[in-house]
């Protein structure tokens, strides 16, 4: 039975209690730093921040319903090669799953990192977060979001709801973390349950001397109903997107606002290429080529290769898509990229029986093969 402990919450402020917990972690000799979202300014997005001085944890807010970017890529950068020091990273479930994918792709390493996963109730996309904040102080807003200041926990605030990716996310609980902060179903004004989910987490928790509890009461049930609701949302979203993109023309229209800025792939945690192939010389066409293409049909949309880009990205990354929604978040023209990707990913992941982030032992589908598989893919036409 895994160790479960609790963090005592004083003054109805779980954020402060979590800061205390993180300080405790940082005080542990084995941990050199903590990557955690920190409110660097009073009214801005909390940004992933690498903290080495526990004094600087006063801005940390692991519960903020903001998701400025997927930290998986950042953590990859922190763990690639050997830094010599172990760090802890406080991550959302989708960030962990993305990070696991990156580890499989040799972009990062789990060797010297302690993953602290936090149950995720969802987050606003970057523009909506500002609306959500309104005039409130960011910490207050966080507490409000979790229903700690008057009223029920509800994701709609100031007329905005959490990102559609979060609404349809069926993974609110962290997988493959070392330590899980189980806020789902917890009485956050009293205490926060913390579970060790690996040997490394076990060792770490035992050093903190926190009081043991039986288990996180009500967490499973809360998660269950949350997931059920989100799956309903997800399926509706998939159906809707399918209907919107059923033909190539529909897809073009769906993507008509795309300006080939490639922000979606920059924001994507699993798009790990240093430089996207669409940015390389391969797509530096010659003037006469453009002319020839234009001549074939009488006109040529510039920039070119838009659908080609999106389809290629689907081919490359859809099996690793964790549905974090950062693509949509990053799109300057509001294209629902996440919806499109998740719709494709649902099919590709199912067909290879692959779930990104589920296990390090599962190789990315296109990096392996079996001799005796997918016989139906091969046609015997003659």
């Amino acid at each position: 039975m895994a160790t479960t402990v609790k963090i005592q919450v004083d003054g109805n402020n779980p954020v402060l209690a979590l800061q205390g917990f993180l300080k405790g972690l940082l005080d542990d000799e084995s941990i050199g730093g903590i990557l955690v979202p920190v409110h660097l300014f009073e009214k801005g997005l909390p940004m992933p921040t690498l903290v080495t001085d526990s004094a600087k944890l006063s801005g940390a807010d692991p519960l903020a319903p903001a998701f400025s970017m997927n930290s998986a890529k950042l953590l990859a950068r922190l763990t690639r090669g050997q830094s010599g020091e172990r760090i802890a990273a406080v991550l959302r479930p989708c960030e962990i799953r993305a990070f696991v994918e990156l580890v499989k792709l040799n972009q990062g390493s789990l060797d010297d990192v302690v993953i602290v996963g936090v149950d995720c109730m969802g987050a606003y996309d970057n523009l909506s977060y500002k609306t959500f904040l309104g005039d409130a102080d960011s910490f207050q807003a966080t507490l409000d979001f979790h229903g700690l200041i008057g009223g029920e926990a509800d994701t709609v605030r100031n007329g905005v709801d959490i990102a559609s990716a979060c609404q349809s996310c069926e993974h609110p609980a962290p997988q493959n973390a070392d330590v899980v902060i189980g806020i789902a179903g917890a009485h956050l004004h009293e205490s926060i349950p913390v579970m060790a989910t690996s040997a490394r987490g076990e060792a770490l928790l035992s050093g903190l001397n926190l009081p043991d509890i039986e288990s996180a009461n009500g967490r499973d049930k809360t998660l269950e109903s949350l997931i059920a609701a989100r799956i309903v949302n997800r399926d509706a979203m998939l159906e809707k997107t399918k209907a919107l993109t059923g033909t190539l023309t529909d897809l073009s229209e769906y993507l008509s606002a795309c300006v080939n800025c490639y922000n979606c792939r920059v924001a994507c945690p699993v798009c790990y290429c240093k430089e996207c192939v669409f940015n390389t010389d391969v797509f530096e066409h010659k003037p006469w080529q453009y002319m020839e293409w234009a001549k074939r049909k009488g006109s040529l949309k510039m920039p070119t290769d838009t659908i080609f880009y999106h389809l290629t990205r689907m081919a490359h990354m859809s099996t690793a898509c964790v549905g974090c929604g950062q693509c949509s978040n990053a799109c300057p023209n509001g294209i629902p990229v996440m919806e499109l990707f998740r719709t494709v990913a649902a099919r590709t992941q199912e067909s290879f029986d692959y779930e990104p982030g589920r296990s390090l032992d599962e190789s990315p589908p296109l990096s392996v093969f079996k001799e005796d598989e997918f016989q139906e893919t091969v046609s015997h036409m003659a």
Binding site: L105, K274, E275, V282, Q289, H316, L366
Partner: protein, 1143 residues
């Protein structure tokens, strides 16, 4: 002057090709000849080879210096800079000695000019002749002018003069005038007739007038000789045997003296035939029997004329000769014992194995569908009958053909596959000889998974029943019941026979033959014939399957290369240096397009002017020129001229059969100073033959050309020569027979060898052998070998030592060997793993408990050392497959049956009345070993078959074994009381787990080394520069071990024989600035050619190991890894070009 070659390889089947390639890649010039008009031997007819049940022959092609050999399907053709292939060619004479053989070759002309033939097939359309097609094993017919195989390149028609009716329709039909029947040269073909009979003169004058040959008739020998001396126009002499001033022989002799090139034909009476035949051996071309009749004489003379005018001879000087003539299959029709009747061969449902193979072939009579040749109905029940013409003493075949068992299982599996399992397949066999690597598993799979039925019984005949609709097969069950079954098809596993004309060939080559008509080979050197310097490759010396043929071919190549090296055959002949080409990388592409217009079909279907106009409009095409006939010297000159005038930096040729041009682009490159990698040839003719609809061909041709233009636009113009300095010595692990043989083979060529043996003495497992079935003395052989190895100046022997570490790649490894004297560091270019095997240790059936129980090896030892007195024994029992071919070890150990026979024969020799009982499953004695089995039976040993689910039971009474087992023939339990029980314990590979780690190689499920490809690269590891041999590869007998060791040495010499290994055209590289180091490419590379350098943070490509498959490029998401010649950019331009519609 005679053309010089390192070696002559006779026979261009799989053995010949392997031997030729092995010699060619070690830098030797090879002449590869075959008497057939195509290369490939029997494999050109076989589409499917187990275990994959398809073809993978291309894997034989060299992995290094790939550019100098063909890079396409090996069945289509073979090009290598060092190999000259001569087809329809035979050896007429072989003189001289090792190191300096003089060879005369005679080549039959195809009578069709290959430079003009465009393979349009118009000639065959008009040919009235129909004869059975050799390619389809007689299942279809061909014309007299025909394509020998459908897939070869260059694929030109040939005229089979023997079957030609001389209607000359093909000549008139040929659009390019390729068929050259020498009509115009007849007036210069003067014929001298010497005969006293005036009737002959009158008749000949009549005939020859019509044929346009000038005729000179004389009545005396003297007049003939005078005329020959004075008139140099005479091209043929016909001499009658009735002249009386001198013997006809004398005329012949004088004629040959005056001009050996003038053929002399003897005209004899019936009574003089024997003298005439003798004259043929003295040099006459042939003899005719009088009276001459115009009906036969005219076609004869016509054909003789064409042969004389067209056939050619060539004289070579070669260092060594490799014979790879293969074998022929038993033909029931020509069996004097009447095989045709017994097997109802001739009934459309009765086929030989090769015929059946053709029936399943895509290029066969049914296009690959399994249909009955009689009525094209679906085939429902097929029986295979094994040992037809093999293991048959009465057919002078007291040998096992060795290939048929697996062949038949494969065919049954293929039949199942072709019918989705619907067809019922039954194989009738005597012993199912599955003693090769993985064969038992293949059999088990066929039997238990695919549903192939195996019946141990030999049907005596095949009888058509039901008005010939069905075929009745009767056989005995073990229980003694006579069973009669009907099939709609019966396949005869026709065994091997010596190649046709073997006796004459042996005479020409000076070879001894064995009693079955195969070449006599030497003990412990199965590649050595009775003539020094003449070696046997493939299955020439003994029928063998593909894998063993390939090993044998490499062994023969090794023996030949040793001769070439020792006699320094090609000293002084220097190879041409690689030319340096100007760097055109900074210039924008300028492409010269040359369109070959030699064949009228192009002009008929394509508007050349419009095509030229459209092509000129394609970007970066600088000029489009039409060339008369590209494949001729003139055509080539036109391209050169065009290149000089328009100064292109890329050249595209549109012609027929691009494959044939690829080797010639090198020449063009030299002459116009352009890297051949910047040239391409595309086929623009096939669309003109195939497509009927208007304008369609033009579209296709345009697409083909513009796709090639797009490819050339992106061709990488900068060749970066990367070379590896080769450490020219070898590391051989294992000092047994295999390791020592391989060491000697390498050391004899002048390279250093470090031989590492883990035991304290050299010798290994073979030291336990005291006798051999062929009577040779293995002990003496081994002692001599050990002596040679230990004395050899190039071999360093490290005993009691182990390889601790080995790093690096082909050409340059660094290893450390730990021994009693400490650690010995070594730099070497290649490694050979010959770690051997051992007798399996199993402790049951009283072994190690009762003195009366021992293994075959121990029995051999006791008999050899005299510990055991055979005369004092009253009964001996032996059990075969004791722990082989079952769940523990699903393979046949191959050595136990011969070992058992050896002991049986020794015991019987010493005590003829000694009862010997051998319990067996299948007696595995392939090839000529079969005869010892016959001898053992004759000597009175009793062989009792048992099934694996009812093994003999062993009990002991007073320490003596009592064996009880079911005798299936008596259907009764027999109880054998013996003094001695000898067990075949089988052979296991030695434990090499540590070496797998050290060398980065793998073993298969049985613990034997995993080769790169079972059939085509049997002694190579997948990792280049490391080779395997001996019992660590598979269970092998001594001569087979030697062959594998020589083969491994030859493969290793490929690397050792060069100072530097050059980089290839098609290799992958990494654009580090784009690379995210995800290492997907490292995992995808099947050759281990990629490593990640953590310090540098780079993926490194080993360009020697890289084979250019592009798996890395496809798996790289952002094209950080690229394959030369297949960059993303150009590839997408090609796709664009393909889809472009000309305006």
């Amino acid at each position: 002057m005679r053309k010089q070659y390192g070696a002559l390889v006779v026979g261009a089947g799989i053995g010949g090709i392997r031997a030729a390639l092995d010699l060619a890649v070690t830098g030797h010039k090879v002449a590869l000849i075959d008497r057939r008009p195509t290369h490939g031997g029997i494999l050109s007819q076989l589409d499917h080879q187990f275990p994959s049940d398809h073809c993978g022959m291309c894997k034989m092609l060299p992995l290094m210096s790939r550019d100098s050999s063909s890079q396409f399907c090996l069945r289509k053709g073979l090009f290598h800079d060092n190999i000259d292939i001569m087809l329809s060619t035979e050896v007429a004479e072989l003189e001289g000695e090792p190191g300096k053989f003089f060879v005369s070759l005679s080549t039959k002309s195809p009578l069709i000019d290959p430079t003009k033939c465009v393979s349009c097939g118009k000639c065959a359309e008009v040919c009235p002749v129909r004869v059975p097609s050799e390619f389809n094993a007689g299942l279809t017919e061909r014309t007299a002018v025909y394509l020998p195989v459908p897939h070869a390149i260059p694929n030109h028609y040939v005229l089979d003069l023997d079957n030609c009716q001389r209607c000359w329709k093909c000549h008139d039909a040929c659009p390019t005038g390729a068929i050259d029947l020498k009509f115009n040269e007849r007036v210069d073909f003067h014929i001298l007739v010497v005969d006293r009979d005036p009737a002959v003169e009158t008749m000949l004058k009549d005939i020859l007038n019509e044929l346009n040959f000038p005729l000179h008739c004389v009545q005396t020998g003297q007049a003939a000789v005078d005329m020959l001396a004075s008139d140099d126009r005479i091209r043929l002499v016909l001499v009658g045997m009735n002249i009386n001033d001198m013997d006809a022989e004398r005329v012949l002799t004088r004629s040959l003296e005056l001009n050996a090139d003038i053929p002399v034909v003897v005209m004899a009476e019936t009574s003089q035939i024997s003298t005439a035949a003798a004259m043929v051996t003295q040099g006459a071309r042939e003899y005719l029997v009088k009276p001459l009749e115009a009906k036969r004489f005219v076609p004869w003379l016509d054909k003789l004329y064409m042969r004389i005018m067209s056939d050619t001879t060539e004289d070579l000087e070669v260092g060594a000769v490799v014979l790879a003539g293969g074998f022929e299959c038993y033909n029931p029709v020509v069996d004097p014992e009447g095989g045709e009747d017994i097997w109802s061969y001739g009934h459309p449902g009765v086929l030989t194995a090769v015929e059946f193979e053709r029936l399943l072939s895509g290029t066969g009579p049914t296009g690959g569908r399994l249909l009955h040749p009689g009525d094209n109905s679906e085939v429902r029940k097929i029986a295979w009958i094994q040992c037809v013409g093999s293991r048959d003493v009465k057919k002078n075949a007291d040998f096992c053909s060795g290939i048929c068992c697996m062949f038949s299982i494969k065919e049954a599996v293929l039949a199942k596959k072709a019918t989705n399992g619907a067809v019922e397949t039954t194989i009738f066999y005597m012993d199912m000889r599955t003693s090769g690597k993985g064969y038992q598993r293949y059999r088990n799979k066929a039997e238990h998974e695919k549903g192939v039925r195996l019946v141990r019984s030999r049907p005596h005949s095949v009888i058509p029943v039901n008005d010939g609709m069905d075929l009745k097969v009767e056989y005995m069950t073990d229980a003694g019941e006579l069973v009669s079954e009907t099939y709609d098809m019966v396949v005869l596993a026709a065994g091997a026979r010596p190649p046709g004309g073997m006796e004459k060939f042996a005479l020409t080559m000076g070879l001894d033959l064995n009693e079955w008509g195969f070449a006599q080979m030497q003990p412990y050197a199965s590649e050595r014939t009775s003539r020094l310097g003449v070696f046997a490759a493939g299955s020439f010396g003994e029928p063998r399957d593909i894998s063993e043929s390939v090993i044998q071919a490499s062994a023969a190549a090794q023996a030949a290369s040793r001769i070439i090296k020792v006699y320094d055959v090609l000293a002084g002949i220097e190879s041409e240096p690689e030319p340096e080409y100007p760097d055109v990388s900074r210039e924008p592409p300028r492409i010269l397009v040359a369109v070959c217009t030699s064949c009228p079909t192009l002009e008929q279907t394509v508007d050349l002017e419009a095509l030229s106009r459209k092509m000129s409009a394609v970007h970066s095409v600088c000029k489009v020129i039409s060339v008369g006939a590209t494949c001729t010297g003139e055509g080539w000159a036109e391209i050169e001229k065009g290149a000089a005038e328009f100064k292109p930096n890329r050249v595209l040729i549109g012609a027929c059969m691009p494959y044939a041009y690829i080797p010639r682009l090198k020449e063009l490159g030299r002459s116009i100073g352009l890297n051949p990698a910047l040239m391409d040839v595309v086929d623009i003719y096939t669309p003109t033959f195939v497509l009927e609809s208007e304008g369609q061909a033009e579209k296709e041709v345009f697409a083909a050309l513009s796709m090639a233009v797009a490819r050339l636009q992106g061709a990488d113009p900068v060749p970066v020569p990367v070379t590896v300095d080769v450490a020219r010595s070898a590391l051989v692990v294992g000092g047994g027979l295999a390791g020592m043989t391989a060491s000697m083979a390498i050391a004899d060529q002048g390279y250093g060898v470090c031989l590492v043996e883990s035991e304290e003495e050299l010798g290994g497992m073979a030291m336990r052998l005291h006798t051999q079935l062929d009577g040779s003395d293995p002990h003496k052989f081994m002692e001599e070998l050990i002596g040679q190895v230990e004395k050899h100046p190039n071999i360093k022997v490290l005993k009691d030592s182990r390889v601790a570490i080995s790093r690096g790649s082909a050409g340059r490894f660094r290893s450390a060997i730990a021994g009693p004297q400490g650690v010995f560091p070594l730099e070497h270019g290649v490694s050979i793993l010959a770690t051997g095997g051992h007798e399996t240790k199993v402790y049951e059936s009283g072994l190690c408990v009762h003195k009366s129980v021992m293994t075959h090896l121990a029995l051999e030892e006791q008999l050899a050392t005299g510990v055991l007195d055979a005369g004092a024994l009253t009964g001996v029992a032996m059990i075969q497959c004791w722990r082989s071919r079952d769940e523990d070890r699903t393979y046949c150990s191959r050595v136990c049956c011969p070992e058992m026979l050896k002991n049986v024969l020794t015991l019987k020799k010493r005590n003829p009345d000694l009862p010997i009982y051998v319990f067996y499953r299948d007696i595995m004695v392939q090839g000529f070993m079969e005869t010892y089995y016959t001898q053992a039976r004759k000597a009175g040993a009793i062989f009792i078959h048992y099934e694996p689910d009812n093994k003999p039971k062993v009990a002991f009474e007073d320490g003596k074994p009592v064996i009880t087992a079911l005798d299936p023939v008596l259907n009764a339990e027999v109880e054998i009381r013996a003094d001695i029980l000898s067990l075949s314990s089988g052979l296991e590979p030695n434990d090499v787990e540590d070496l797998l780690e050290v060398f980065g190689v793998e073993v298969n499920e049985d613990g034997f080394y995993q080769e790169a490809d079972f059939k085509w690269r049997p002694v190579d590891f997948l990792k280049q520069g490391i080779y395997m041999c001996g019992a660590a590869h598979s269970p092998r007998r001594m001569d087979e071990t030697v062959a594998s060791a020589k083969a491994a040495a030859q493969r290793a010499l490929r690397i050792l024989s060069t100072e530097k290994i050059a980089r290839e055209t098609v290799v992958a590289s990494v654009r580090h600035s784009l690379c995210s180091l995800c290492q997907a490419c490292v995992a995808a590379c099947p050759y281990g050619a990629r490593v990640v350098d953590l310090e540098e943070g780079k993926i490194i490509v080993d360009e020697i190991l890289c084979q250019g498959c592009g798996a890395c490029a496809a798996v790289c998401p952002n094209s950080a890894t690229i394959l030369k010649g297949f960059h993303d950019g150009p590839m997408m331009s090609v796709i664009d070009a393909a889809l472009e519609q000309p305006a």
